[in-house]
């Protein structure tokens, strides 16, 4: 007693798939991104309505209740989360998606007779479990429930190898026997593999790992679609898998990393040397008034926002500072490093929120030649993205990452709270250079003081 015949069902699923394609397409350009996301949501709605109208379902009240619970948990969290905590939320959502795919695959095992179906099932089980556990660890790292540093212990490679071998073994066993308990074992092994995979990844590389797990989950969903013979799941999952792969590569490139390097311990060599300990070498620090004078009598100021600005919620203040300086006829631009902050694009989002005009936000390649002609580079809560060690010391954990050439500016002013290093845990030699001045304090407080002093000039 279904309302929709198979042809209509297929067409509606196709419409939903097209919505997803349009969503990804829209999300690739700033002007259409929001509409794209809404189109994606509409596609999801169409698909869910279609499944209810086209499939003979028992337990409908239970299902509706479960949907209500899921939505009731996720929507408020998603709506209230702070900008700085977005990445871990995305990781979390990705993880639960992977978990769902694994559970669905587990239940499909009963129905699977052909062996290629079982192959798809074990694939989903394994990938879903890896994605679930990996994403949770990622979440823990980003939420600082655990250390953000690479976790390495002797025997990790051996354990990892054993977990992978055991996974493959039980996957093969499931394909041949179809036993439920082996499938459960496979999930457990997948969870273990996921944890081991992400533990050694340095916190700085975590978003790349989220993106990779995201692509993985997409593939798990596609495999699930093959099992259920559901074209929508196949298309949507494949789309996410393919675009996620491209995205992961693009992100890694922006951070000057290779994906394999990240997974197999690019940070292994150097980053254990990293620390959170404050340096006690002497630096030049100054008052907000001094900084205001520097800025107020410059011709050209480039502001480099970083993670600290996000934490301090100083985006509105920095925008006001821009106005105040521009009112004095000073040219002010923002230099946006692709990985400044804790997620790619973090700074653009943040500054767009504060209504900084899009034209003032310059990408790295565009702004780098301009530092030479800048009087002041004002570094607000950024550290790694301006650290010359990325260019000069091959042993450093951030070696190879393209950086903003702040050192080229006539004067460099850092707003930060202490001499503690940034995310990668390495000292920044630039802090000790003669042209550098530090203004200690919370970024928002410091900005407010500087702003006041500029207005008083």
């Amino acid at each position: 007693m279904t309302l929709l015949d198979p042809t209509w069902t297929a067409l509606l699923y196709l419409v939903a798939a097209v919505c997803f394609i349009l969503a990804l397409k829209g999300l690739s350009s700033p002007r259409t991104a929001r509409r794209g996301n809404l189109i994606g949501a509409a596609g999801a709605l169409i698909a869910v309505v279609t499944v209810f109208l086209s499939t003979k379902l028992d337990n409908i009240p239970w299902i509706l209740a479960a949907i209500a619970i899921g939505a009731a948990i996720a929507a408020p969290v998603a709506r209230r989360v702070q900008m700085t905590q977005m990445p871990q939320l995305v990781a979390l959502f990705n993880g639960v998606g992977g978990g769902a795919a694994a559970l669905v695959a587990l239940l499909e095992l009963d129905l699977a007779e052909e062996s290629w179906v079982r192959v798809a099932i074990v694939f989903t089980l394994l990938i879903g479990a890896v994605s679930f556990a990996g994403s949770l660890v990622t979440f823990a790292k980003l939420q600082e429930l655990m250390t953000t540093r690479p976790v390495l212990f002797p025997g990790l490679p051996v354990l990892m190898g054993a977990a992978i071998l055991a996974s493959v073994g039980s996957a093969i066993a499931v394909v041949f026997t179809g036993e439920l308990w082996i499938a459960v074992l496979l999930i457990v092994l997948g969870l273990l593999t996921g944890v081991l995979l992400v533990l050694p990844v340095g916190g700085a590389d975590v978003p790349i790992v989220i993106s990779l797990l995201n692509a993985f989950t997409g593939l798990a969903v596609a495999a699930s679609g093959l099992v259920l013979g559901n074209v929508l799941l196949v298309v949507a999952g494949t789309l996410v898998g393919a675009s996620g792969t491209i995205l992961t590569r693009a992100m890694a490139q922006a951070m000057g990393r290779s994906v394999t390097g990240i997974l197999f311990g690019a940070f292994r060599g150097g980053s254990t040397a990293g620390s959170t300990v404050a340096s006690d070498r002497p630096v030049r620090s100054s008052s907000a008034e001094d900084v205001a004078v520097l800025l107020g009598y410059a011709q050209k100021v480039i502001i480099v926002p970083g993670y600290g600005l996000a934490v301090a919620q100083g985006q509105h203040t920095v925008a006001e500072l821009q106005h105040a300086l521009e009112a004095r006829g000073i040219e002010v631009e923002f230099a946006i490093h692709p990985v400044a902050g804790r997620m790619p694009g973090h700074m653009n989002v943040l500054l767009a929120e504060a209504n900084v005009p899009y034209e003032s936000l310059k990408e790295m390649s565009e702004i780098n030649p301009e530092f030479k002609t800048a009087d002041v580079a004002l570094v607000v809560g950024a550290n790694d993205v301006v650290n010359p060690a990325a260019k000069s010391s091959p042993g450093s954990p951030i070696y190879g990452m393209p950086i903003l050439e702040v050192a080229d500016a006539r004067q460099v002013v850092f707003l930060k709270r202490s001499m503690r290093p940034g995310f990668a845990g390495i000292e920044n030699e630039l802090l000790f250079e003669p042209q550098t001045t530090l203004l200690f304090g919370d970024a928002k407080d410091s900005l407010t003081k500087v702003l006041g002093a500029v207005k008083a000039l």
């Binding site: 990804l24 999300l27 690739s28 350009s29 700033p30 991104a33 929001r34 996301n37 809404l38 999801a44 499944v51 499939t55 379902l57 337990n59 299902i63 479960a66 899921g70 939505a71 948990i73 996720a74 998603a78 990445p87 939320l89 995305v90 959502f93 990705n94 639960v96 998606g97 769902a100 669905v104 587990l106 290629w116 995201n214 969903v221 259920l228 559901n230 074209v231 929508l232 298309v235 949507a236 999952g237 494949t238 789309l239 996410v240 898998g241 393919a242 675009s243 922006a254 050209k300 009112a327 006829g329 040219e331 790619p344 694009g345 989002v349 767009a352 209504n355 005009p357 034209e359 301009e370």
Partner: protein, 113 residues
């Protein structure tokens, strides 16, 4: 639908996925990741189907957990993406300050060379 058709569809979807995001600017990396993340929440369809066909309590419970997780992925994903993108909205049209900056940019180019 036969395996050949599914394979063809998968291959084409791979190309669409590759092409569609191939030229995204780094500004949009996070929203795009988050949006793609929401899309794979569509596993909800699969979860609903298995829950609707569950005959014993254990299966039903596992399936319902899958429904909850998938819904969280789907709904949360789209909402959080929308929240990120909302911030791109209030963009002022090129203000006077920008014109000044533009002119000064040219000047700087001269100095720089």
């Amino acid at each position: 639908m036969d395996a050949v058709a599914l394979t063809t569809i998968t291959v084409l979807a791979v190309f669409v996925g590759f092409e569609v995001v191939s030229k995204v600017s780094s500004t949009l990396h996070t929203p795009l990741m988050s949006g793609a993340n929401a899309i794979h929440g569509i596993i909800l369809i699969g979860a609903i189907i298995v829950a609707g066909q569950a005959s014993d309590a254990a299966t039903l419970i596992v399936a319902l957990i899958a429904v909850v997780l998938a819904t969280a992925n789907l709904v949360g994903g789209f909402v959080v993406t929308d929240r990120m993108l909302e911030m791109f909205r209030g963009r002022r049209p090129a203000a006077s300050g920008t014109a000044v900056a533009g002119a000064a940019t040219d000047q700087k180019k001269e100095n720089g060379r």
